[in-house]
Amino acid sequence: MRPTAPLMLLAAAVVAAGTLTACGSGPGSDQNTVKVAFIKDTNGKVTVRDDYVRLVARQFERSHPGKKVRLIPVQASENDYYTKIQQMMRSPRTAPDVVYEDTFLVNSDITAGLLRPLDDRLRTWDDWRQFEPAAKSAARGQDGRTYGVPDGTDTRGLWFNKKIFKQAGLPADWRPRDWAAVLDAARTVKRTVPGVVPLNVFTGKGAGEAAVMQGFEMLLYGTGADQLYDPADRKWVTGTRGFKDSLGFLDTVYKEKLGPDVSDALSPHIQTRVAAELLPEEKLAIDLDGSWLGQQWQKTGGGRPWPAWSATLGQAPFPTQHGAPPGKVSLAGGWTWSVPRQARQPELAWQLIKTFQTKANALEWCVRGAQIAVRKDVAADPRYRTSVPGIGFFTGLVKVSRYRPALPEYPRVAAAIGEAMEAVTAGDSSPEKAAADYDTTLASLVGGRTVAKP
């Protein structure tokens, strides 16, 4: 027998000593530095958010002498960004002091105990009164406390190329009444204007939450009430007609080749491709997309400067399935600035968030980022209302906008929706089969809290 016992003991002691001391005194716990983590566009040329954060950071450093802001831009797709910040927030050694959270994820992170409630600070902050009620609840947890300050919201609708529409003989003030009208327009384009993608609807796993929200839920929320989650029962809904019809719409788009080539549509780069290539090169007639697209084409910080876009592109609200009132549907999302529970400098973090949300800076972000204002004073400002062409149209959609279920299990449900979309788009499953698979998965994702509504 080998004398391994003393070896093991010694080694274990070394291991323990190493890890324990490392935990005790972390480097970078500088009293005067506040770390801020945010997402950077995967298209390296788009620097809208980086520029804005840097601007605010400089301002903060000037007004707080001796303090430093360390920027942690995370250049990644949205899914990878979420994973990265969740990992960072788990340890005090890596947690940033301020983090940029997607409202889609914020409830999940609140439940995981990754964030810090801000109620005490919000109570004494005068500007909080300027926020719209919906915005105030954007980062409200199941416990009723608020964990983040939103910096804007977004809505969704149809963008269409008026030049292509003219060639196809479609009106420049196009207002589709129902899904069939959208598909008809796409078919007309396919027939009359060759070489152009008629209609883009994001789909599949590659585009992540963008596909689920811009693609699927824009359809689903137009098929009737509570097709995804029933707030009265507090249960997730299965087996609905709306779910199958929404998948059916995608099936039609990709089977009839009205959309981009399927392998392109399912690639993770599709969002960048649509914004930086297909639309500016006028190769796409209709795009179901977000209100922020304009930021991609700005002269500075945009990935693809395209001054002519405001004259070329029109906007139309996305219709409900059969034109049922109110006749249009939109979903609202957005991001918030939050403070991780493990943050080393929560006080400085709050000061920085306040600097982000002075009226001037909030206005600056709405203008640069083509965001829809969540503060009443910003929304009333003439500079905001004339900032980006189309902002009036998308602000108008806020009234009909719906929100995703703000629940901790939502991100996993969304991932399951993405898989159902991918199966249908790739031709692996019929809409009925994909919906049935989703129903099976759903029960395990939400701990059996489902209700069938055929």
């Binding site: 070394v14 590659g206 392998s263």
Partner: protein
Amino acid sequence: MTGAVAGRAGRARTRGAAPAGRGRTRLLRWSPLAPATVLLLLFLAGPICYCVCLAFTDTQLTGQESASFVGLANFRQAFGDPAFRNAVALTLVFTVVSALLGQNTLGLALAGLMRRASRPVRTLTGATVICAWVLPEIVAGFVLYTFFARRGTLNALLEQLHLPPQNWLFTLPILAVSFANVWRGTAFSMLIYSAALAEIPQEVTESAEVDGAHGLRRLWHITLPMIRRSIGTNLMLNTLQTLSVFGLIWAMTRGGPGNRSETLPVFMYDQAFLKSLIGYGTAVALLLLLVGAVFSAVWLRLMREEV
């Protein structure tokens, strides 16, 4: 030589000495290895132990504050999950096609052919093949993505030849990534087999030829048995390397479309980091470890049955 003898003599002497002295000698003898042992324990055994612990909990990246011990629930979930079974099947296809059939056979063929080739041909081929091998995995992934993609190099070539273009990454992605892995890993097998073939004594080959064994017969009866040990080593290394291929597949297809190229490492990543189910993901990682162990046991057995 004399050192070894002295060492043996030393050991014989300490056998009879007092237990305390024996312990000290052993500790002394081990001391040069101490840093290596500690590093291994810290950075190899540590993470594996952590992984084993996590696999029996329901740890999540988000959506749940505390984790609790759930026993074998993760493993039960895996075996009941059609996506997991799909991943296992694809992993086996990927390993058999790219490691066993592709890298191994092609590597042996290249090594055999290169022995007969002229020097410039040998240098050129060797350099080209090894180039593919030294490329970092992620770079190779992007290079092959641009090669196989719908508007990629392969289709441009096919178009030049007036052949119908193929959408490899979409229609048969598991084959596309298998080819990619063959492209990348063949050099390794080629190097191993080149060395092994060079070891075959000239006289054995000559006497075989005198006895009239040519071509395939010589390969089957002389060459293969003589390099059997190298085949075993190569198969084992190839298999283990291929089982853990992640970057290449991730860069080319992300396991898609659907889950048509989702091998176990990709499935594991998807569950652990995209679906935030760290516990389940690590359980799958352990099962992957198990698959690797089974393959290694088979190859080790093959090597032991040496004549």
